[in-house]
């Protein structure tokens, strides 16, 4: 048992490190947050330039096959690059969904001509992708998608609405899950397409979140034409295609955000304890909570090391990789909430000029409710653990053997 790289991994890590040092600035501190000093268009320019260099240096698509422009390495190398990249101010976020979920789906389900058209450009950061699955009436039950595609000669005509689409405002293409046949069972009437996001009839509107930000979008489709050659998989097989995309999602959303136990520990030194005697860090009940956060944060970090170990040995990662989001979103909520309450009345102030950590605890408090929902709600993730990891039976289904159009929708 040790935490060392194999010689090959160490060599790769050194290469990655050299590339990053040449092309990015190191983060000021371990807990340094996203560089927000750049304006959106400047950031996008920098992001695309960085992605191009990454592709040229062989650090984009590390696990992808060589014929897709990748490097054909096992997943552990991708993890190693991500570990090193996380130490730098690297503008790689806008490509995460496209390269992590959408383009691998395109690779899995399309012909050579289609792959030639899209894959290399995505890898070099020339085109950005988004994923269009959720709808107002199809969240946890995403297979209940209603956005409609009707065949018209060599084209399909799309009408409907998607929601919570990350990055739609700057995406060039998306993968779109639509209903092509409402007369068969829910899961059997779906089809997946590649959609050009810049074409007529695609209307992207930012969602104003309860946290104040606008990180996601609604996307409306009005008589949008998609050629049949942009179809991924057979008509009616869209759910199987979507499962390939979704397999990667929880890994992508599993990270931790916001101030962690180390930051609330530092913060607690400067706050009065509830009893008025000494500081919060001396308060017994706070220390007990802090210990729980340490245990969970370290447990999550160490579980990732176990996943890396499995990958390093060429094994499929164990189920430990599925626990991250359940732990992190709730812990982020709890830490934010505790830091606010610990400040007594002053805790209500979130003005970055006046609040601790420029209001980062308040941001956690307001953003964590979204994280408990995004990428599979806590409840769905627990169902997944129960069914796929622990082997418990599926819930009783009332939508089996019923045509989609006849299913109750509550409205």
């Amino acid at each position: 048992m040790d935490f060392n790289d194999t010689p090959e991994e160490a060599k790769f890590r050194a290469e990655a490190r050299a590339f990053l040092e040449a092309n990015c600035k190191p983060k000021a501190a371990e807990n340094d947050r996203m560089n927000r000093s750049l304006k959106p268009d400047e950031y996008m320019k920098a992001a695309k330039a960085y992605q191009k260099k990454k592709a040229e240096a062989g650090f984009a698509g590390i696990t992808w096959a060589k014929e897709q422009g990748g490097r054909g390495l096992p997943p552990i190398y991708s993890v190693i690059f991500n570990q090193e990249e996380a130490k730098f101010d690297a503008p790689s976020g806008v490509f995460a969904i496209g390269l992590g979920m959408c383009v691998p789906t395109v690779i899995a389900f399309s012909d050579e001509a289609t792959k030639d058209r899209y894959v290399a450009k995505a890898l070099r950061g020339e085109e950005i992708w988004c994923q269009l699955f959720s709808e107002p009436g199809a969240g946890s039950d995403v297979a209940a998608s209603k956005t409609k595609a009707v065949r018209d000669g060599d084209d399909w005509i799309i009408n409907g609405q998607k929601v919570w689409t990350t990055g739609a405002q700057f995406s060039d293409y998306g993968i779109l899950l639509v209903r092509t046949n409402p007369d068969v069972e829910k899961h059997k009437g779906l089809t997946m397409f590649i959609v050009d996001m810049k074409q007529k009839g695609v209307d992207v509107r930012p969602i104003h979140q309860m946290s104040g930000g606008r990180d996601f979008n609604e996307v409306y489709f009005t008589d949008v034409r998609i050629p049949d050659s942009s179809r991924l998989g057979d008509p009616g097989m869209g759910w199987n295609v979507a499962l390939v995309t979704l397999m990667n999602e929880r890994l992508a959303v599993g990270g931790s955000y916001g101030p962690d136990y180390k930051e609330i520990f530092e913060f607690a030194k400067g706050i009065n304890s509830p009893s008025g005697e000494g500081s919060l860090i001396q308060d017994e009940s706070f220390r007990q909570k802090l210990a729980d956060w340490i245990v969970r944060a370290e447990g999550y970090k160490l579980a990732k090391f176990r996943t890396m170990t499995a990958l390093s040995k060429g094994q499929t990662p164990g189920p430990e990789s599925s626990i991250g989001k359940v732990i992190n979103a709730n812990q982020m909520m709890d830490i934010g909430n505790t830091a606010i309450e610990a400040q007594d009345h002053y805790g209500i102030i979130n003005d970055p000029e006046l609040a601790a950590l420029e209001g980062a605890f308040h941001q956690s408090y307001m953003f964590a409710p979204g994280l408990r929902i995004a990428g599979g709600t806590d409840e769905i993730l627990k169902n997944i653990i129960a069914e796929r990891v622990l082997g418990l039976p599926q819930d009783v289904r009332v939508d089996k053997g019923v045509a989609f159009k006849d299913l109750p929708t509550g409205r």
């Binding site: 007990q288 210990a291 245990v295 370290e298 129960a386």
Partner: protein, 371 residues
């Protein structure tokens, strides 16, 4: 990255599981539970000694197998899973570790071969009453050759042949080694929440004793022993937690209510998923503890505290929700749920309750940051 047990260690684990499913398990645990006069299962103890497990981590020169602490961790997980009714933890994680850590060559030569052979049953005596003990609270007195005072409770104190006792010596605290089979020692068997393990009050009246380690170093040594034992106890806790989850899963798949398997209800699914998450958090922490223990890393105190905090909480959660998943039958004496529920509480409070280890964890974070 190689944060896992080796193939050999996994093979040892499989072997231990097979062995214990044959020689231990609920039936054997109940032999001790149901007979107030029996404090441990002698057949199982002999069988475990014959396997060499008692001396797994004892060097070969002292009669052991000379394996590492990782091998011991693997065995601990399986013993915890089996709720083994033997004084293994007291003898191996506490007594033998204390002797190996602090003993002179003569002391090691004197007792370790007998531990490995199953002839010495050890125990570790710290507690003197309600509440967490501290260096300042210890009352038992050692005068350089004899020991006077009382320890309550002492796990396996009713069947142990030897004890390591934390005692006051002058203005400090020392560890002392005591042969319990002498006239200066009185044992009173105690009734406890977990009757599958023996417990006693030990009273010493001028009992012959010898110092273990340097005079005045007893509290630091005791803390070091506790850190080592903490990791091993935490493996028992993870093993027990895992057994509870598996028992719940079996039941949730076979029990029908409202004409369907109860495991198809989300209320049950989410409960079991919570157990799973708690176990994985604990397992990841105790693996880190195992690494720190086996490499004698400077991170051991931090890792040991995190291991104990995580594993104690996980076992409490899993053992109580295992009862809940079973419903009425889970509350019966005949169903095994309570064996785990009882052992979970013993393991949680023995060698420091969860709150004590959580406090240690934060203190050690402070120390680490100050360093």
């Amino acid at each position: 990255m190689n944060f896992d047990f080796s193939d050999d260690q996994k093979a040892l684990k499989d072997e231990a599981r097979r062995f214990l499913s044959d020689k231990a398990g609920a039936k054997v645990t109940r032999r001790v539970l149901d007979d107030a006069k029996v404090s441990y299962d002698e057949d199982l103890w002999r069988a475990v000694a014959e396997m060499g497990w008692l001396g797994a981590a004892i060097p070969e020169e002292h009669g052991g197998l000379g394996l590492g602490r990782l091998e011991l961790c693997v065995l601990a997980e399986e013993l915890g899973r089996a709720v083994a009714p033997i004084p293994f933890s007291s003898t191996v994680y506490f007594f033998a570790e204390a002797v190996m850590l602090a003993g002179s060559d003569a002391q090691k030569k004197g007792v370790l071969p007998k531990v490995a052979a199953g002839e010495v049953i050890g125990c570790f005596a710290v507690s003197e009453g309600p509440g967490a003990p501290s260096a300042a609270s210890i009352q038992a007195k050692f005068d350089g050759s004899t020991l006077t005072g009382a320890k309550i409770p002492v796990t396996d104190g009713d069947c142990a042949t030897h004890a390591v006792v934390v005692a006051r010596e002058g203005s400090g605290v020392s560890l002392v080694l005591v042969d319990l089979n002498q006239s200066g020692v009185t044992r009173t068997t105690l009734k406890t929440l977990d009757p599958t393990r023996g417990h006693a009050k030990l009273e010493f009246k001028g009992a012959k004793a010898e110092r273990l380690g340097a005079a005045g170093q007893g509290w630091e040594l005791a803390e070091a022993v506790l850190d080592r034992a903490a990791v091993l106890l935490a493996f028992e806790q993870v093993g027990g937690s895992q057994a509870c989850l598996e028992m719940s899963l079996d039941y949730a798949k076979s029990r029908y209510a409202f004409s369907r398997q109860i495991g198809s209800f989300q209320a049950i699914k989410h409960k079991l998923a919570d157990m799973y998450v708690a176990i994985e958090v604990a397992r990841s922490n105790v693996y880190y503890g195992a690494w720190a223990l086996s490499t004698e890393a400077a991170e051991l105190p931090f890792a040991a505290a995190a291991s104990r905090a995580a594993a104690s909480d996980a076992y409490y959660l899993c053992s109580k929700e295992n009862i809940q998943t079973h419903g009425g039958i889970g509350f019966t004496w005949e169903m095994d749920c309570h064996l785990f529920f009882r052992r979970a509480k013993l393991l949680a409070v023995q060698a420091g309750a969860p709150a004590v280890w959580k406090e240690k964890l934060v203190k050690r974070l402070e120390q680490r940051n100050a360093a």
